[in-house]
Protein backbone atom coordinates (compact mmCIF):
# COMPACT_ATOMS: atom_id res chain seq x y z
CA UNK A 1 0.00 0.00 0.00
CA UNK A 2 1.51 3.27 -1.09
CA UNK A 3 -0.97 5.85 0.08
CA UNK A 4 -4.01 5.83 2.27
CA UNK A 5 -7.14 6.15 0.20
CA UNK A 6 -10.13 4.54 1.91
CA UNK A 7 -12.48 5.06 -1.05
CA UNK A 8 -10.07 3.41 -3.44
CA UNK A 9 -9.56 0.55 -1.00
CA UNK A 10 -13.28 0.05 -0.89
CA UNK A 11 -13.47 0.02 -4.70
CA UNK A 12 -10.54 -2.38 -4.84
CA UNK A 13 -12.22 -4.98 -2.70
CA UNK A 14 -15.58 -4.38 -4.38
CA UNK A 15 -14.10 -5.02 -7.84
CA UNK A 16 -12.27 -8.13 -6.66
CA UNK A 17 -15.35 -9.57 -5.00
CA UNK A 18 -17.50 -8.77 -8.04
CA UNK A 19 -14.88 -10.42 -10.26
CA UNK A 20 -14.92 -13.54 -8.16
CA UNK A 21 -18.72 -13.65 -8.22
CA UNK A 22 -18.80 -13.36 -12.02
CA UNK A 23 -16.13 -16.03 -12.40
CA UNK A 24 -17.74 -18.38 -9.90
CA UNK A 25 -21.39 -17.94 -10.85
CA UNK A 26 -21.52 -20.69 -13.53
CA UNK A 27 -19.96 -23.14 -11.07
CA UNK A 28 -22.43 -22.15 -8.37
CA UNK A 29 -25.36 -22.71 -10.75
CA UNK A 30 -23.91 -26.11 -11.59
CA UNK A 31 -23.56 -27.04 -7.93
CA UNK A 32 -27.13 -25.93 -7.19
CA UNK A 33 -28.36 -27.85 -10.22
CA UNK A 34 -26.66 -30.98 -8.97
CA UNK A 35 -28.39 -30.74 -5.61
CA UNK A 36 -32.05 -30.71 -6.64
CA UNK A 37 -34.31 -33.44 -7.99
CA UNK A 38 -35.15 -33.71 -11.66
CA UNK A 39 -38.63 -32.25 -11.38
CA UNK A 40 -37.52 -29.10 -9.59
CA UNK A 41 -34.96 -28.52 -12.34
CA UNK A 42 -37.74 -28.16 -14.92
CA UNK A 43 -39.59 -25.34 -13.19
CA UNK A 44 -38.84 -21.78 -14.24
CA UNK A 45 -37.12 -20.05 -12.59
CA UNK A 46 -34.68 -22.73 -11.58
CA UNK A 47 -33.42 -22.42 -8.00
CA UNK A 48 -30.35 -20.43 -6.96
CA UNK A 49 -29.99 -22.06 -3.56
CA UNK A 50 -28.86 -25.65 -3.03
CA UNK A 51 -31.40 -28.39 -2.43
CA UNK A 52 -31.12 -31.57 -0.38
CA UNK A 53 -30.73 -34.13 -3.16
CA UNK A 54 -26.97 -33.81 -3.61
CA UNK A 55 -25.94 -37.20 -2.27
CA UNK A 56 -28.92 -38.92 -3.82
CA UNK A 57 -27.90 -37.49 -7.22
CA UNK A 58 -24.29 -38.37 -6.60
CA UNK A 59 -25.21 -41.98 -5.97
CA UNK A 60 -27.55 -42.12 -8.94
CA UNK A 61 -24.99 -40.54 -11.30
CA UNK A 62 -21.90 -42.35 -10.17
CA UNK A 63 -23.37 -45.82 -9.95
CA UNK A 64 -26.06 -45.57 -12.61
CA UNK A 65 -25.49 -47.03 -16.05
CA UNK A 66 -25.32 -43.68 -17.82
CA UNK A 67 -28.00 -41.16 -18.65
CA UNK A 68 -31.18 -42.59 -20.07
CA UNK A 69 -31.72 -41.86 -23.73
CA UNK A 70 -27.98 -41.58 -24.40
CA UNK A 71 -25.47 -44.21 -25.36
CA UNK A 72 -22.92 -43.12 -22.78
CA UNK A 73 -21.11 -45.54 -20.52
CA UNK A 74 -21.50 -45.61 -16.72
CA UNK A 75 -20.04 -42.49 -15.16
CA UNK A 76 -17.58 -44.30 -12.91
CA UNK A 77 -16.13 -46.11 -15.93
CA UNK A 78 -15.76 -42.87 -17.88
CA UNK A 79 -14.02 -41.28 -14.90
CA UNK A 80 -11.56 -44.17 -14.84
CA UNK A 81 -10.99 -43.85 -18.60
CA UNK A 82 -10.31 -40.15 -18.21
CA UNK A 83 -7.90 -40.84 -15.39
CA UNK A 84 -6.06 -43.45 -17.45
CA UNK A 85 -5.83 -41.07 -20.41
CA UNK A 86 -4.71 -38.08 -18.33
CA UNK A 87 -2.07 -40.07 -16.49
CA UNK A 88 -0.64 -41.76 -19.56
CA UNK A 89 -0.50 -38.49 -21.48
CA UNK A 90 1.18 -36.54 -18.69
CA UNK A 91 3.61 -39.27 -17.63
CA UNK A 92 4.36 -40.17 -21.26
CA UNK A 93 5.05 -36.58 -22.22
CA UNK A 94 7.36 -36.04 -19.27
CA UNK A 95 9.24 -39.31 -19.86
CA UNK A 96 9.97 -38.87 -23.54
CA UNK A 97 10.73 -35.17 -23.13
CA UNK A 98 13.25 -35.84 -20.35
CA UNK A 99 14.98 -38.43 -22.51
CA UNK A 100 15.15 -36.28 -25.62
CA UNK A 101 16.26 -33.19 -23.70
CA UNK A 102 19.00 -35.31 -22.12
CA UNK A 103 20.16 -36.50 -25.54
CA UNK A 104 20.12 -32.99 -26.98
CA UNK A 105 22.00 -31.33 -24.13
CA UNK A 106 24.49 -34.00 -23.12
CA UNK A 107 25.40 -35.80 -26.34
CA UNK A 108 27.27 -34.89 -29.46
CA UNK A 109 25.81 -36.68 -32.45
CA UNK A 110 25.18 -36.01 -36.15
CA UNK A 111 21.81 -34.53 -37.18
CA UNK A 112 21.19 -33.20 -33.68
CA UNK A 113 19.87 -29.86 -34.92
CA UNK A 114 17.71 -31.62 -37.46
CA UNK A 115 16.03 -33.64 -34.70
CA UNK A 116 15.73 -30.54 -32.58
CA UNK A 117 13.81 -28.72 -35.30
CA UNK A 118 11.68 -31.76 -35.96
CA UNK A 119 10.51 -31.66 -32.35
CA UNK A 120 10.01 -27.93 -32.60
CA UNK A 121 7.61 -28.38 -35.51
CA UNK A 122 5.11 -30.26 -33.34
CA UNK A 123 4.37 -26.93 -31.68
CA UNK A 124 2.90 -25.74 -34.92
CA UNK A 125 0.62 -28.67 -35.62
CA UNK A 126 -2.21 -28.89 -33.07
CA UNK A 127 -4.60 -31.83 -33.51
CA UNK A 128 -7.29 -29.46 -34.70
CA UNK A 129 -5.48 -28.59 -37.92
CA UNK A 130 -4.73 -32.15 -39.02
CA UNK A 131 -7.81 -33.95 -37.85
CA UNK A 132 -8.55 -36.27 -40.77
CA UNK A 133 -5.05 -37.52 -41.71
CA UNK A 134 -4.14 -38.17 -38.06
CA UNK A 135 -7.34 -40.10 -37.64
CA UNK A 136 -6.43 -42.17 -40.72
CA UNK A 137 -2.98 -42.96 -39.34
CA UNK A 138 -4.41 -44.10 -36.03
CA UNK A 139 -7.05 -46.17 -37.82
CA UNK A 140 -4.40 -47.80 -40.02
CA UNK A 141 -2.37 -48.71 -36.97
CA UNK A 142 -5.44 -50.36 -35.44
CA UNK A 143 -5.36 -48.00 -32.47
CA UNK A 144 -8.99 -46.88 -32.52
CA UNK A 145 -10.96 -47.53 -29.32
CA UNK A 146 -7.89 -48.20 -27.23
CA UNK A 147 -6.03 -46.48 -24.42
CA UNK A 148 -2.93 -46.52 -26.58
CA UNK A 149 -4.76 -44.62 -29.31
CA UNK A 150 -6.13 -42.16 -26.76
CA UNK A 151 -2.74 -41.26 -25.35
CA UNK A 152 0.26 -42.06 -27.59
CA UNK A 153 -0.53 -39.65 -30.45
CA UNK A 154 -0.72 -36.80 -27.95
CA UNK A 155 2.46 -37.39 -26.00
CA UNK A 156 5.02 -35.71 -28.26
CA UNK A 157 5.82 -32.38 -26.62
CA UNK A 158 7.98 -29.56 -27.82
CA UNK A 159 7.25 -27.33 -24.83
CA UNK A 160 8.21 -29.98 -22.27
CA UNK A 161 11.39 -30.81 -24.19
CA UNK A 162 12.34 -27.12 -24.30
CA UNK A 163 11.63 -26.67 -20.64
CA UNK A 164 13.87 -29.57 -19.62
CA UNK A 165 16.52 -28.44 -22.08
CA UNK A 166 16.59 -24.97 -20.49
CA UNK A 167 16.76 -26.55 -17.07
CA UNK A 168 19.62 -28.91 -17.99
CA UNK A 169 21.57 -26.02 -19.50
CA UNK A 170 21.64 -24.29 -16.12
CA UNK A 171 23.30 -27.29 -14.44
CA UNK A 172 27.03 -26.59 -14.02
CA UNK A 173 29.40 -28.59 -16.23
CA UNK A 174 31.43 -29.55 -13.17
CA UNK A 175 28.64 -31.85 -12.09
CA UNK A 176 29.08 -34.06 -15.13
CA UNK A 177 32.86 -33.90 -14.83
CA UNK A 178 32.86 -35.08 -11.25
CA UNK A 179 30.29 -37.76 -11.98
CA UNK A 180 32.46 -39.04 -14.80
CA UNK A 181 35.54 -39.02 -12.61
CA UNK A 182 33.64 -41.23 -10.23
CA UNK A 183 32.96 -43.53 -13.15
CA UNK A 184 29.27 -42.83 -13.78
CA UNK A 185 27.99 -43.69 -17.24
CA UNK A 186 25.38 -41.61 -19.09
CA UNK A 187 22.33 -43.45 -17.76
CA UNK A 188 23.61 -43.44 -14.20
CA UNK A 189 24.22 -39.71 -14.49
CA UNK A 190 20.70 -39.28 -15.86
CA UNK A 191 18.94 -41.21 -13.12
CA UNK A 192 21.13 -40.24 -10.16
CA UNK A 193 21.72 -36.56 -10.94
CA UNK A 194 19.41 -35.11 -13.58
CA UNK A 195 16.13 -36.68 -12.44
CA UNK A 196 16.53 -35.67 -8.77
CA UNK A 197 17.58 -32.16 -9.82
CA UNK A 198 14.52 -31.73 -12.05
CA UNK A 199 12.05 -32.99 -9.47
CA UNK A 200 10.28 -29.64 -8.99
CA UNK A 201 10.07 -29.02 -12.71
CA UNK A 202 8.69 -32.48 -13.30
CA UNK A 203 6.01 -31.96 -10.66
CA UNK A 204 5.09 -28.52 -11.98
CA UNK A 205 4.83 -29.80 -15.51
CA UNK A 206 2.82 -32.79 -14.36
CA UNK A 207 0.10 -30.53 -12.95
CA UNK A 208 -0.27 -28.61 -16.21
CA UNK A 209 -0.12 -31.74 -18.38
CA UNK A 210 -2.58 -33.66 -16.24
CA UNK A 211 -5.14 -30.91 -16.83
CA UNK A 212 -4.29 -30.89 -20.53
CA UNK A 213 -4.76 -34.65 -20.75
CA UNK A 214 -7.93 -34.80 -18.69
CA UNK A 215 -9.59 -32.03 -20.71
CA UNK A 216 -8.94 -33.53 -24.16
CA UNK A 217 -12.16 -33.45 -26.14
CA UNK A 218 -11.81 -33.58 -29.91
CA UNK A 219 -9.32 -36.43 -29.93
CA UNK A 220 -11.31 -38.95 -27.84
CA UNK A 221 -14.42 -37.86 -29.71
CA UNK A 222 -12.83 -38.91 -32.99
CA UNK A 223 -11.23 -42.18 -32.08
CA UNK A 224 -13.63 -43.79 -29.61
CA UNK A 225 -16.82 -45.34 -30.88
CA UNK A 226 -16.85 -48.10 -28.31
CA UNK A 227 -18.63 -46.78 -25.23
CA UNK A 228 -16.41 -48.71 -22.85
CA UNK A 229 -13.61 -46.29 -23.85
CA UNK A 230 -15.59 -43.03 -23.58
CA UNK A 231 -14.09 -40.33 -21.42
CA UNK A 232 -16.16 -38.25 -19.02
CA UNK A 233 -15.43 -34.94 -20.75
CA UNK A 234 -16.63 -36.11 -24.16
CA UNK A 235 -19.81 -37.65 -22.76
CA UNK A 236 -21.20 -34.25 -21.72
CA UNK A 237 -22.00 -33.36 -25.31
CA UNK A 238 -24.22 -36.42 -25.72
CA UNK A 239 -25.95 -35.69 -22.45
CA UNK A 240 -26.70 -32.12 -23.53
CA UNK A 241 -28.07 -33.44 -26.81
CA UNK A 242 -30.29 -35.92 -24.99
CA UNK A 243 -31.49 -33.04 -22.81
CA UNK A 244 -33.52 -31.79 -25.77
CA UNK A 245 -35.88 -34.75 -25.32
CA UNK A 246 -35.46 -35.85 -21.71
CA UNK A 247 -33.93 -32.99 -19.79
CA UNK A 248 -32.42 -34.58 -16.70
CA UNK A 249 -30.44 -31.54 -15.75
CA UNK A 250 -29.75 -32.71 -12.21
CA UNK A 251 -27.84 -35.70 -13.59
CA UNK A 252 -26.10 -33.65 -16.28
CA UNK A 253 -24.94 -31.06 -13.76
CA UNK A 254 -23.74 -33.75 -11.37
CA UNK A 255 -21.80 -35.38 -14.21
CA UNK A 256 -20.25 -32.03 -15.14
CA UNK A 257 -19.32 -31.53 -11.51
CA UNK A 258 -17.61 -34.92 -11.37
CA UNK A 259 -15.89 -34.26 -14.70
CA UNK A 260 -14.29 -31.01 -13.60
CA UNK A 261 -13.53 -31.93 -10.02
CA UNK A 262 -10.24 -33.84 -10.53
CA UNK A 263 -8.44 -31.12 -12.53
CA UNK A 264 -9.76 -28.38 -10.23
CA UNK A 265 -8.56 -30.29 -7.17
CA UNK A 266 -5.16 -30.72 -8.77
CA UNK A 267 -4.92 -26.96 -9.46
CA UNK A 268 -6.06 -25.95 -5.99
CA UNK A 269 -3.97 -28.41 -3.98
CA UNK A 270 -0.83 -27.85 -6.03
CA UNK A 271 -1.35 -24.19 -6.74
CA UNK A 272 2.29 -23.16 -6.38
CA UNK A 273 3.52 -25.89 -8.69
CA UNK A 274 0.71 -25.15 -11.13
CA UNK A 275 1.60 -21.46 -11.42
CA UNK A 276 5.26 -22.37 -11.83
CA UNK A 277 4.51 -24.98 -14.47
CA UNK A 278 2.19 -22.69 -16.39
CA UNK A 279 4.52 -19.72 -16.48
CA UNK A 280 7.72 -21.69 -17.12
CA UNK A 281 6.37 -23.90 -19.87
CA UNK A 282 5.45 -20.79 -21.88
CA UNK A 283 8.94 -19.34 -21.73
Amino acid sequence: MIENRPVLDFITYLVLILGIIIIAFPIWVMFVGASHDGIRMLQVPIPLLPGDQFFQNLKETLLGSGLEGTSTAPVWLMLLNSLAMALSISIGKIAISLLSAFAIVYFRFPFKMFFFWMIFITLMLPVEVRILPTFEVVADLGMLNSYVGLSIPLIASATATFMFRQMFMTIPDELLESARLDGAGPMKFFFDFLIPLSRTNIAALFVVLFIYGWNQYLWPLLITTDRSKYTIVMSIKQMIEAAEQTPEWHIIMMTSLLAMLPPILVVLTMQKLFVKGLIESEK
Binding site: E3, V44, I96, M124, E128, V129, R180, W249, V267
Partner: protein, 293 residues
Protein backbone atom coordinates in the same frame (compact mmCIF):
# COMPACT_ATOMS: atom_id res chain seq x y z
CA UNK B 1 25.70 -25.87 -25.46
CA UNK B 2 27.64 -27.79 -22.86
CA UNK B 3 31.44 -27.92 -23.09
CA UNK B 4 31.51 -31.36 -21.62
CA UNK B 5 29.39 -33.90 -23.44
CA UNK B 6 29.20 -37.60 -23.98
CA UNK B 7 30.57 -38.69 -27.30
CA UNK B 8 28.32 -39.78 -30.08
CA UNK B 9 26.95 -43.21 -29.34
CA UNK B 10 23.92 -45.24 -30.36
CA UNK B 11 22.53 -44.43 -26.93
CA UNK B 12 21.84 -40.82 -27.97
CA UNK B 13 19.66 -41.97 -30.84
CA UNK B 14 17.91 -44.43 -28.58
CA UNK B 15 17.10 -41.65 -26.12
CA UNK B 16 15.68 -39.31 -28.69
CA UNK B 17 13.94 -42.04 -30.70
CA UNK B 18 10.56 -42.18 -28.86
CA UNK B 19 9.97 -38.46 -29.30
CA UNK B 20 11.08 -38.50 -32.93
CA UNK B 21 9.04 -41.57 -33.88
CA UNK B 22 5.86 -40.18 -32.36
CA UNK B 23 6.50 -36.79 -33.91
CA UNK B 24 7.00 -38.34 -37.31
CA UNK B 25 4.09 -40.82 -37.23
CA UNK B 26 1.47 -38.58 -35.65
CA UNK B 27 2.55 -35.07 -36.61
CA UNK B 28 4.72 -34.84 -39.67
CA UNK B 29 3.27 -37.70 -41.69
CA UNK B 30 -0.38 -36.58 -41.18
CA UNK B 31 0.57 -32.98 -41.94
CA UNK B 32 2.21 -34.16 -45.16
CA UNK B 33 -0.89 -36.19 -45.95
CA UNK B 34 -3.06 -33.12 -45.44
CA UNK B 35 -0.81 -31.19 -47.78
CA UNK B 36 -0.99 -33.96 -50.38
CA UNK B 37 -4.74 -34.44 -50.09
CA UNK B 38 -5.31 -30.74 -50.45
CA UNK B 39 -4.23 -31.12 -54.08
CA UNK B 40 -6.67 -33.98 -54.75
CA UNK B 41 -10.35 -34.21 -55.56
CA UNK B 42 -12.16 -37.46 -54.77
CA UNK B 43 -14.88 -38.66 -57.08
CA UNK B 44 -18.43 -39.01 -55.83
CA UNK B 45 -18.03 -42.66 -54.81
CA UNK B 46 -14.71 -42.23 -53.03
CA UNK B 47 -13.13 -44.77 -55.37
CA UNK B 48 -10.49 -42.68 -57.04
CA UNK B 49 -8.99 -39.27 -56.81
CA UNK B 50 -7.57 -36.81 -59.22
CA UNK B 51 -4.65 -34.45 -58.84
CA UNK B 52 -6.00 -30.95 -59.32
CA UNK B 53 -3.20 -28.62 -58.20
CA UNK B 54 -4.63 -25.61 -56.39
CA UNK B 55 -8.24 -26.14 -57.35
CA UNK B 56 -9.31 -26.84 -53.76
CA UNK B 57 -7.71 -23.61 -52.61
CA UNK B 58 -9.19 -21.60 -55.45
CA UNK B 59 -12.55 -23.11 -54.64
CA UNK B 60 -12.16 -22.07 -50.99
CA UNK B 61 -11.09 -18.56 -51.93
CA UNK B 62 -14.21 -18.20 -54.04
CA UNK B 63 -16.46 -19.89 -51.52
CA UNK B 64 -18.60 -17.28 -49.81
CA UNK B 65 -19.16 -19.50 -46.75
CA UNK B 66 -15.45 -20.00 -46.25
CA UNK B 67 -14.69 -16.30 -46.57
CA UNK B 68 -17.45 -15.55 -44.07
CA UNK B 69 -16.05 -18.14 -41.71
CA UNK B 70 -12.64 -16.49 -41.99
CA UNK B 71 -13.96 -13.08 -41.06
CA UNK B 72 -16.06 -14.58 -38.28
CA UNK B 73 -13.04 -16.36 -36.81
CA UNK B 74 -11.00 -13.16 -36.84
CA UNK B 75 -13.81 -11.28 -35.10
CA UNK B 76 -14.34 -14.09 -32.60
CA UNK B 77 -10.63 -14.33 -31.72
CA UNK B 78 -10.16 -10.61 -31.27
CA UNK B 79 -13.28 -10.32 -29.14
CA UNK B 80 -12.27 -13.27 -26.96
CA UNK B 81 -8.75 -11.89 -26.51
CA UNK B 82 -9.96 -8.37 -25.79
CA UNK B 83 -12.74 -9.34 -23.37
CA UNK B 84 -10.69 -11.86 -21.47
CA UNK B 85 -7.54 -9.75 -21.26
CA UNK B 86 -9.21 -6.53 -20.20
CA UNK B 87 -11.21 -8.31 -17.50
CA UNK B 88 -8.05 -10.06 -16.27
CA UNK B 89 -5.99 -6.86 -16.34
CA UNK B 90 -8.55 -4.97 -14.24
CA UNK B 91 -8.61 -7.79 -11.70
CA UNK B 92 -4.82 -8.10 -11.63
CA UNK B 93 -4.41 -4.33 -11.24
CA UNK B 94 -6.74 -4.27 -8.27
CA UNK B 95 -5.36 -7.49 -6.80
CA UNK B 96 -1.95 -5.82 -6.72
CA UNK B 97 -3.42 -2.98 -4.64
CA UNK B 98 -5.13 -5.26 -2.18
CA UNK B 99 -3.06 -5.84 0.93
CA UNK B 100 -5.05 -8.64 2.39
CA UNK B 101 -5.85 -12.05 0.99
CA UNK B 102 -4.03 -11.87 -2.36
CA UNK B 103 -3.49 -15.61 -2.22
CA UNK B 104 -7.20 -16.13 -1.58
CA UNK B 105 -8.15 -14.05 -4.65
CA UNK B 106 -5.65 -15.89 -6.74
CA UNK B 107 -7.06 -19.20 -5.58
CA UNK B 108 -10.62 -18.15 -6.32
CA UNK B 109 -9.75 -16.74 -9.73
CA UNK B 110 -7.50 -19.39 -11.22
CA UNK B 111 -9.54 -22.53 -11.25
CA UNK B 112 -11.62 -21.89 -14.41
CA UNK B 113 -8.34 -22.75 -16.15
CA UNK B 114 -8.92 -26.35 -15.11
CA UNK B 115 -12.42 -26.53 -16.61
CA UNK B 116 -12.50 -28.21 -20.02
CA UNK B 117 -13.87 -25.92 -22.77
CA UNK B 118 -16.70 -28.34 -23.50
CA UNK B 119 -17.73 -28.39 -19.83
CA UNK B 120 -17.63 -24.61 -19.69
CA UNK B 121 -19.92 -24.69 -22.72
CA UNK B 122 -22.29 -27.13 -21.01
CA UNK B 123 -22.58 -24.92 -17.91
CA UNK B 124 -23.36 -21.85 -19.95
CA UNK B 125 -25.89 -23.75 -22.06
CA UNK B 126 -27.65 -24.53 -18.82
CA UNK B 127 -27.57 -20.90 -17.63
CA UNK B 128 -28.62 -19.45 -20.98
CA UNK B 129 -31.07 -22.13 -22.13
CA UNK B 130 -33.88 -20.29 -23.97
CA UNK B 131 -36.64 -21.80 -21.84
CA UNK B 132 -35.01 -22.99 -18.61
CA UNK B 133 -31.90 -20.90 -18.11
CA UNK B 134 -31.63 -18.78 -15.00
CA UNK B 135 -29.94 -15.92 -16.86
CA UNK B 136 -32.59 -16.10 -19.59
CA UNK B 137 -35.17 -15.69 -16.84
CA UNK B 138 -33.54 -12.47 -15.60
CA UNK B 139 -33.01 -11.17 -19.13
CA UNK B 140 -36.72 -11.66 -19.81
CA UNK B 141 -37.53 -9.63 -16.68
CA UNK B 142 -35.62 -6.80 -18.33
CA UNK B 143 -37.56 -7.30 -21.53
CA UNK B 144 -34.73 -8.90 -23.51
CA UNK B 145 -35.91 -11.70 -25.74
CA UNK B 146 -33.08 -14.20 -25.38
CA UNK B 147 -32.86 -17.19 -27.68
CA UNK B 148 -29.37 -18.00 -28.84
CA UNK B 149 -30.65 -21.02 -30.73
CA UNK B 150 -32.45 -18.73 -33.18
CA UNK B 151 -30.55 -15.47 -32.96
CA UNK B 152 -27.10 -15.62 -34.56
CA UNK B 153 -25.75 -12.48 -32.88
CA UNK B 154 -26.77 -13.73 -29.46
CA UNK B 155 -25.14 -17.10 -30.21
CA UNK B 156 -21.90 -15.35 -31.16
CA UNK B 157 -21.99 -13.19 -28.03
CA UNK B 158 -22.55 -16.28 -25.92
CA UNK B 159 -19.65 -18.31 -27.30
CA UNK B 160 -17.37 -15.27 -26.97
CA UNK B 161 -18.36 -14.92 -23.32
CA UNK B 162 -17.73 -18.58 -22.56
CA UNK B 163 -14.37 -18.65 -24.35
CA UNK B 164 -13.30 -15.43 -22.61
CA UNK B 165 -14.49 -16.65 -19.20
CA UNK B 166 -12.37 -19.76 -19.44
CA UNK B 167 -9.24 -17.82 -20.36
CA UNK B 168 -9.46 -15.13 -17.64
CA UNK B 169 -7.60 -17.26 -15.10
CA UNK B 170 -4.63 -17.71 -17.41
CA UNK B 171 -4.39 -14.03 -18.33
CA UNK B 172 -4.83 -13.01 -14.71
CA UNK B 173 -1.88 -15.13 -13.58
CA UNK B 174 0.43 -13.70 -16.23
CA UNK B 175 -0.63 -10.09 -15.61
CA UNK B 176 -0.24 -10.55 -11.87
CA UNK B 177 3.25 -12.02 -12.33
CA UNK B 178 4.13 -9.12 -14.64
CA UNK B 179 2.92 -6.45 -12.24
CA UNK B 180 4.72 -8.12 -9.34
CA UNK B 181 7.97 -7.98 -11.30
CA UNK B 182 7.89 -4.16 -11.49
CA UNK B 183 10.22 -2.67 -8.86
CA UNK B 184 8.22 -1.15 -6.02
CA UNK B 185 10.62 1.78 -5.82
CA UNK B 186 9.53 2.95 -9.26
CA UNK B 187 5.89 3.05 -8.29
CA UNK B 188 6.69 4.66 -4.94
CA UNK B 189 8.79 7.33 -6.62
CA UNK B 190 5.87 8.21 -8.88
CA UNK B 191 3.57 8.33 -5.86
CA UNK B 192 5.93 10.75 -4.06
CA UNK B 193 5.93 12.93 -7.17
CA UNK B 194 2.19 13.15 -6.70
CA UNK B 195 0.73 10.93 -9.41
CA UNK B 196 -2.42 9.10 -8.38
CA UNK B 197 -3.13 5.39 -8.70
CA UNK B 198 -4.87 5.62 -12.08
CA UNK B 199 -2.17 7.79 -13.60
CA UNK B 200 0.48 5.45 -12.21
CA UNK B 201 -1.26 2.51 -13.78
CA UNK B 202 -1.38 4.07 -17.24
CA UNK B 203 2.04 5.71 -17.27
CA UNK B 204 4.14 3.13 -15.41
CA UNK B 205 2.51 -0.24 -14.96
CA UNK B 206 0.78 -0.57 -18.32
CA UNK B 207 3.82 0.36 -20.46
CA UNK B 208 6.10 -1.88 -18.41
CA UNK B 209 3.90 -4.93 -18.82
CA UNK B 210 3.32 -4.33 -22.53
CA UNK B 211 5.57 -7.29 -23.53
CA UNK B 212 3.31 -9.55 -21.47
CA UNK B 213 0.22 -7.98 -22.99
CA UNK B 214 1.56 -8.68 -26.46
CA UNK B 215 2.52 -12.23 -25.55
CA UNK B 216 -0.96 -12.84 -24.12
CA UNK B 217 -2.55 -11.40 -27.23
CA UNK B 218 -0.82 -14.05 -29.34
CA UNK B 219 -1.59 -16.86 -26.88
CA UNK B 220 -5.24 -15.83 -26.64
CA UNK B 221 -5.58 -15.65 -30.40
CA UNK B 222 -4.15 -19.16 -30.76
CA UNK B 223 -6.48 -20.32 -28.00
CA UNK B 224 -9.54 -18.78 -29.65
CA UNK B 225 -8.57 -20.24 -33.02
CA UNK B 226 -7.95 -23.82 -31.94
CA UNK B 227 -8.99 -24.61 -28.38
CA UNK B 228 -12.56 -23.42 -28.58
CA UNK B 229 -13.77 -26.32 -30.69
CA UNK B 230 -15.41 -27.97 -27.66
CA UNK B 231 -17.33 -24.80 -26.78
CA UNK B 232 -18.76 -24.42 -30.28
CA UNK B 233 -19.45 -28.13 -30.65
CA UNK B 234 -21.47 -28.42 -27.47
CA UNK B 235 -23.24 -25.05 -27.57
CA UNK B 236 -24.20 -24.18 -31.13
CA UNK B 237 -22.67 -26.68 -33.60
CA UNK B 238 -21.72 -23.67 -35.66
CA UNK B 239 -25.31 -22.47 -35.89
CA UNK B 240 -27.77 -20.91 -36.08
CA UNK B 241 -27.30 -20.56 -39.85
CA UNK B 242 -23.47 -20.78 -39.56
CA UNK B 243 -23.40 -17.75 -37.26
CA UNK B 244 -20.76 -19.34 -35.01
CA UNK B 245 -18.98 -21.56 -37.51
CA UNK B 246 -15.30 -20.74 -36.94
CA UNK B 247 -12.53 -22.25 -39.09
CA UNK B 248 -11.63 -25.14 -36.78
CA UNK B 249 -15.24 -26.18 -36.58
CA UNK B 250 -15.59 -25.99 -40.35
CA UNK B 251 -12.57 -28.26 -40.90
CA UNK B 252 -14.18 -30.84 -38.64
CA UNK B 253 -17.62 -30.41 -40.13
CA UNK B 254 -16.57 -30.53 -43.78
CA UNK B 255 -14.16 -33.42 -43.19
CA UNK B 256 -15.95 -35.68 -40.74
CA UNK B 257 -19.58 -34.84 -41.32
CA UNK B 258 -19.51 -33.65 -44.93
CA UNK B 259 -16.73 -36.07 -45.98
CA UNK B 260 -15.20 -33.54 -48.35
CA UNK B 261 -11.63 -34.78 -47.98
CA UNK B 262 -9.86 -32.44 -50.39
CA UNK B 263 -11.68 -29.38 -49.15
CA UNK B 264 -11.09 -30.26 -45.51
CA UNK B 265 -7.40 -30.93 -46.19
CA UNK B 266 -7.03 -27.59 -47.96
CA UNK B 267 -8.60 -25.91 -44.94
CA UNK B 268 -6.18 -27.80 -42.68
CA UNK B 269 -3.26 -26.49 -44.70
CA UNK B 270 -4.52 -22.91 -44.39
CA UNK B 271 -4.89 -23.36 -40.62
CA UNK B 272 -1.33 -24.72 -40.41
CA UNK B 273 -0.04 -21.63 -42.17
CA UNK B 274 -1.88 -19.49 -39.62
CA UNK B 275 -0.40 -21.42 -36.66
CA UNK B 276 3.09 -21.22 -38.11
CA UNK B 277 2.65 -17.48 -38.52
CA UNK B 278 1.37 -17.03 -34.96
CA UNK B 279 4.05 -19.28 -33.43
CA UNK B 280 6.66 -17.36 -35.38
CA UNK B 281 5.48 -14.09 -33.83
CA UNK B 282 5.45 -15.68 -30.40
CA UNK B 283 9.02 -16.90 -30.72
CA UNK B 284 10.39 -13.65 -32.02
CA UNK B 285 8.90 -12.11 -28.92
CA UNK B 286 10.45 -14.72 -26.62
CA UNK B 287 13.87 -14.20 -28.20
CA UNK B 288 13.62 -10.46 -27.63
CA UNK B 289 12.66 -10.92 -24.03
CA UNK B 290 15.70 -13.13 -23.46
CA UNK B 291 18.03 -10.65 -25.17
CA UNK B 292 17.06 -7.69 -23.04
CA UNK B 293 17.21 -9.56 -19.76
Amino acid sequence: MKRNQFNSSPLAYLLIAPQIIITFVFFIWPAGQALYQSFLVEDAFGLGSEFVWFENFIYLAEDEYYRDSFGRTAFFSLMVAFTSMSFALVLAGFAERATRGVLAYRTLLIWPYAVAPVLAGALWVFMFDPSLGIVTYFLKLFGIDWNYKLNGNQAMALVIMVAAWKQIAYNFLFFLAGIHAIPRSMIEAAAIDGSGPIRRFWTIIFPLISPITFFLLVINTVYAFFDTFGIIHVMTQGGPANATEILVYKVYNDGFVGLDLGGSAAQSVILMVIVIFLTGIQFRFVEKKVEYK
